[in-house]
């Protein structure tokens, strides 16, 4: 009987092997995906009972976990809630962390990131409670506060970058909200807060700086000018460009007029620099005609249009439509016809020009520290996204943008003793509403420390180019001053 006993024992070995394999699949191979299931109550309880890492700005926590005596053990609190709400997002028992860094850096803050593996192992061996990593931001608190104050009650967004590194120095989006009630352990209070936030007409939950896409209006003329200079249509700022009161567009009966109905210079001609100063539609429209849609699109792409960035929050993709015909290219050249951009993207345009044509990849996280403040990862050397224009072109564009602030539509961005470069924009988006007011700028022009993009929704005056200069430029100035005075 020993032969069948041996054969039967092979079967028994197979049964046990099946159990070992199944356990390994559940506890190792599928452990992550099982843990990530939204219906898994353990994961939810787990994340709430663990000390989540803080989010730090300028040495101060803007999001932190405070020990409390209830079943969740830690209460997430946001000391300067409204100022940083769109950056931090919130962390709620009922809806999780749908927005901001709480969402995008969840694995770091919770301590589950792969980079924290070694740490979790030592925690396990030493019996220390695993806690999340602390995330330190690149935000300059003075610039952030200045942007918040300057934007005031207007809807819109402000982004400030360090042109040389891509570090995000300020990121403000209005309207904003208080994340604290959303993370309350009083679940009915949290549910009510979520109900009112998620149905908010002003979309306060939206971080307009990276998730809002707007027509860039005349600020896009900087990109058109860059394309013209790179292409050789214009050689320098004094190149002559057409500037009639109204530009005849091929293929269509509609023409492209200047807002004031006048020519931009004598003999329907002007220089490139003057065209930018007064934001001459027909001059840039005709450059657009001459360049064609693809060259415009290619130049925009070099500044980052079409890229999907994560800072680490996901940035909405800015875009110039493909396959533009001639009249569409003329419209696109002045920032209309379905050209869409985030405020961050326009800040990158300004920063790229400021930095000798080199666009740096924007980032928000300066360093990640473990609970006892050892640095786990600090952002590596700044990463160049692309060389958008040559240094020569960048110098020419800077000259032109300085002139816009000194002699043109951007006068309100002037700062005493500092050379500021900028460009206004007033973007139509709805015939029944006032246009969006835009301003992009950087300073000091010779050794740039900060680049800013400001958009104020419905902040312009219909039929006038003054909106960007009057409404948005002063906001940019406040932010630049805040950065330069540190």
């Amino acid at each position: 009987m020993n032969t069948p006993i041996r054969r039967l024992s092979v079967l028994i070995a197979c049964l046990f092997t099946a159990l070992l394999v199944a356990s390994t699949i559940v506890q190792f191979a599928q452990a992550k995906s099982l843990g990530a299931m939204s219906t898994n109550k353990r994961t939810l309880l787990d994340s709430y009972s663990r000390e989540r890492g803080s989010i730090i700005v300028g040495g101060q926590a803007v999001a932190k976990s405070v020990p409390v005596e209830d079943q969740y053990r830690f209460l997430r609190s946001y000391p300067q809630g409204e100022l940083y709400a769109q950056l931090t997002g919130f962390y709620s028992y009922s809806v999780g962390a749908p927005y901001g860094l709480e969402h995008a850096s969840d694995d770091l803050l919770s301590g589950d990131a792969d980079t924290l593996f070694v740490r979790r192992m030592t925690d396990l061996i030493t019996g220390r409670k695993t806690s999340g990593a602390t995330v330190e931001l690149t935000i300059d608190p003075k610039a952030q506060a200045a942007a918040d104050k300057a934007l005031g009650d207007s809807k819109g967004a402000v982004v400030a970058l360090d042109p040389k590194t891509g570090a995000i120095l300020a990121m403000v989006s209005h309207p904003t909200y208080d994340p604290n009630p959303l993370s309350s352990h009083d679940l009915s209070k949290a549910a009510k807060a979520w109900q009112s936030l998620s149905t908010d007409k002003g979309k306060a939950y939206l971080n307009r700086a990276i998730s809002g896409v707007y027509p860039p209006g005349s600020t896009f003329k900087v990109v058109t000018a860059a394309a013209a200079l790179e292409d050789g249509i214009a050689t320098d700022e004094n190149s002559t460009v057409p500037g009639p009161a109204e530009l005849n567009l091929p293929l269509t009966s509609t023409n492209l007029p200047n807002e004031n109905g006048q020519a931009c210079g004598p003999g329907d001609e002007t220089t490139l620099i003057h065209a930018l100063e007064i934001s001459c539609n027909t001059a840039f429209g005709s450059l657009g005609l001459e360049l064609g849609g693809e060259k415009l699109r290619a130049q925009a792409a070099k500044f980052g249009f079409g890229d999907s960035l994560q800072v680490p929050m996901r940035v909405a993709t800015s875009s110039v439509p493909a396959d533009l015909n001639a009249p569409q290219a003329a419209q696109a050249a002045i920032g209309q016809y379905d050209v869409r951009t985030t405020p961050l993207q326009m800040a990158m345009v300004a920063a790229g020009i400021a930095n000798g044509g080199r666009v740096m990849t924007p980032y928000l996280i300066q360093s990640v520290r473990s609970a006892n403040l050892d640095i786990i990862e600090s952002t590596p050397d700044p990463v160049e996204l692309s060389q958008a224009v040559s240094e020569q072109t960048a110098r020419t564009l800077t000259k032109m943008m300085v002139s816009v602030v000194q002699n043109g539509s951007g006068a309100r961005a002037q700062i005493d003793g500092v050379e500021v470069a900028g460009k206004t924009g007033t973007a139509q988006h709805d015939p029944d509403k006032p246009p969006h007011a835009w301003f992009i700028s950087f300073a000091p022009a010779t050794d740039p420390k900060v680049a800013v993009a400001v958009v104020v929704e419905d902040g312009g005056v219909t039929g006038s180019e003054v909106g960007g200069g009057r409404v948005a430029a002063p906001i940019a100035r406040e932010v630049m001053e805040a950065v330069l005075s540190r």
């Binding site: 006993i5 046990f16 356990s23 452990a31 099982l34 219906t39």
Partner: protein, 465 residues
């Protein structure tokens, strides 16, 4: 070249058993203390009596073995001890989570059952001097097995708990007689098959290279099949039906060495399962739950399987640590789902260790079956070992989604008296058989002392022609 053949001096290995036993006790006590440290930050107040009692029980069996079965397998008792102990620790841990303290706790009842189970195992070792004595009761055990199996169907005695009618009530106690039926039937199958194996294995026609049995020899397997069907239909217990029928087919195969019996058995069982699936929504739901435990509908129906899997997943490789996980979120965490509970807190490493302990237990049983010299002992040892392995496969396979979930207890670990008592008896029987297997061949008796009754085995050797 010459080799000298040393006469093999058989060793009892009781010293090794003692060392392993102390290790087992140490593991269990460490686990018990860790649980309380993780939960309350204190060493449990009752650690001295618990540790003392547990040690006395385990060492008690060890001493009985030294005395009554000196050549018994040295690994079975330590494995049983550590498994039973870890089960106790998990039940105690769930008590702490549920606020059931002291005499209200499940662990308290389980400790009493453990004590009774150890006592019963010792009694078996004392009363049953030779496993071959059981052969005399082949048909008695058959009757006992059938009665036990069908007892839950008797009105007034049987009780339906959680959808399966596999319980009986005696006074205030609920009992799962199926656990004992398993042993009785293993004894019966061994006794019956050792008598009829020649007929069952030799007679028959050859078809397609397989020798198929004659029609009239199909009787026993059909009886077993009908019995399994009764269990399946009336007790709604797929797990037990599968276990009994699987046990019978496995033993039939070992007795006859004929693969055709396995083929016939599989066909019959497949037919039964197909019938059950088409006839009872109860089984359809189980299969549905097995295929997709995480769908919204199935989670509303029963989140037990999903919860167990989530628990194991949350344990990961190293586990949350005893007392630091959330096994209490799963219903029946202390019985059917004790394996996921342990997997959650001890991690994949702990879960694998537990499965390997069971594997070793079965391996020792198989080794015993190979080593023992009589056919009845071989069949009984392999039958008992197979029943433990198969039961473990059905229950752990169920909670890890290898097969649909059917309720069976995890041997030695699950909360429940009947299961503990029955499995300790299985261990005692394996110890008894292994004692025979490892004992040195008796010298041919020159003469039997007049004042000593001849041991059974000596008498038999003399009687052989």
């Amino acid at each position: 070249m010459t080799t000298t053949v040393e006469p093999l001096t058989p060793r009892t290995r009781r010293g090794a058993e003692l060392l392993l036993l102390l290790l087992a006790i140490a593991i269990v006590m460490l686990a018990w203390v860790t649980t309380d440290l993780n939960r309350n930050g204190t060493v449990p107040a009752n650690i001295i009596p618990v540790a003392g009692g547990f040690t006395v029980l385990a060492l008690g069996v060890h001493l009985v073995l030294r005395w009554k079965a000196a050549y018994a397998d040295p690994v079975l008792l330590p494995i049983t001890t550590v498994l039973n102990g870890l089960g106790l620790v998990m039940i105690h841990r769930l008590d702490l989570a549920g606020g059931k303290l002291g005499a209200d706790g499940d662990a308290y009842r389980q400790i009493i059952w453990t004590t009774l189970a150890v006592a019963l195992a010792v009694a078996v070792l004392f009363v049953l001097r030779d496993h071959r004595l059981l052969r005399r009761y082949t048909f008695v055990t058959m009757a006992i097995g059938f009665v036990l199996l069908l007892l839950p169907l008797v009105p007034g005695v049987g009780r339906t708990i959680n959808g399966s009618q596999i319980w009986i009530s005696i006074g205030p106690m609920n009992f799962q007689p199926g656990e004992f039926a398993k042993i009785a039937l293993a004894v019966f199958f061994a006794g019956y098959l050792v008598q009829t194996r020649d007929v069952l294995s030799l007679a028959g026609k050859k078809v397609l290279g397989f020798t198929f049995p004659r029609g009239r020899d199909l009787g026993p397997i059909l009886v077993a099949w009908v019995l399994a069907l009764l269990v399946l239909v009336f007790q709604k217990d797929l797990g037990s039906a599968l276990l009994f029928f699987g046990l019978f087919v496995a033993m039939l195969y070992v007795a006859t060495e004929r693969v055709s019996w396995i083929a016939i058995g599989l066909l019959l069982f497949a037919a039964a399962v197909a019938f059950a699936l088409s006839a009872f929504t109860h089984f359809q739901k189980r299969v549905d739950l097995w295929l997709d435990p995480f769908s919204q509908d199935n989670l509303e129906r029963s989140n037990q399987l999903a919860n167990g899997l989530w628990g194991m997943a949350s344990g990961g490789l190293t586990g949350t640590g005893l007392g630091a996980g959330r096994p209490y979120l799963t219903s029946f965490a202390e019985s059917d789902f004790i394996f996921p509970s342990l997997g959650e807190e001890l991690g994949l490493f702990g879960a694998v260790a537990i499965i390997v302990l069971y594997l070793l237990f079965c391996e020792r049983g198989i080794r015993t079956a190979l080593g023992v010299r009589d056919g009845f002992g071989k069949l009984l040892a392999i039958g008992l070992s197979f029943s433990v392995a198969f039961q473990l496969f059905i229950v752990i396979g169920g909670v890890t989604r290898v097969i649909p979930l059917t309720g069976l207890t995890t041997p030695f670990m699950s909360l429940g008296g009947s299961s503990l008592l029955a499995n300790w008896v299985i261990m005692a029987l394996l110890l008894r058989i292994s004692d025979q297997a490892r004992r040195p061949m008796p010298e041919m008796p020159v003469g039997v002392a007049a004042d000593e009754p001849a041991p059974a085995e000596l008498t038999q050797v003399v009687k052989l022609p």
